[in-house]
């Protein structure tokens, strides 16, 4: 198990970094949508 630690660390750090970035983007998107007080981005572009 200890031999697999490098893979475990690599996997964990990479996915935490990518998920944190995704959550940050999702939060920003929701924030903009909330400010607009409308539905999704697609709807807004159509308007």
């Amino acid at each position: 198990m200890a031999d697999s630690l490098p893979f475990f660390l690599t996997w964990l750090v990479t996915w935490i970094a990518l998920m944190a970035y995704l959550w940050r983007l999702e939060a920003k998107l929701k924030g903009i949508e909330r400010d607009e007080g409308r539905g999704s981005g697609d709807e807004k572009v159509e308007r």
Binding site: T14, L25, K28, S40
Partner: protein, 235 residues
Amino acid sequence: MRRTIGHILTVAIGVLMVVVFTLAFFWVPPAKEFAEWYGNGHIAKIIFVHVPLAIVSFIGFIAAAIFGVAYLMTRKAQWDELSYASIEVGWLFAVLATVTGSYFSRLAWGEWWSWDPRQTTMLLVLLTYSAYLLVRGAIEDTERKASVSAAYAVLGAVASIFFYWVVPYLPTVQAASAHPSGIIARGGLDFHYRLVVRLSMLAFLLLFVQLVRTKSAILRLERVKMQIALRETEA
């Protein structure tokens, strides 16, 4: 619709992530050649993270060039937004590929950075796209920014092909490189590795798509918001 696709992608990414991790941790055996060369066959499993990150970053840079060409042909802002989003996300993937590669270098060769040709070409890719992000940020005029970015994305893709697929395979460079890609290319890793690396590639590719979709949606909303504000100012 956008949200439904987003939810499906998130579930698929989550499931694949768990499956790949479980298979890699409990099912894939240590690689014999890596055990002989580096003393620990389990470090070959870093491939399941490092290789998909590098390949998906390359796919992102090529996609950015295609979106850039679409912008130059149509002058529609959404192509510019997709191109920029692909480069930003691709750049992050390239950074993570470099970091995971550096960790492998530390484990295998005892140094975090050894100026191996593979490391050097990846660094050049990173510098190329770091410059893109700086150039884009420095231009204020929206249309000029989009045109310059699109042209840069196309040139960047040419450079990427060169750095990812030409330079590392030159005979003199291959002779100087200790990168274990030769083992993979020769089919030296068994089917456990080939299966899991493909599943992992799919997981990272779906995550890339999800990130680009979200980033471009933000850019689209910001553009619409700015257009409304401009119209209100003019009125």
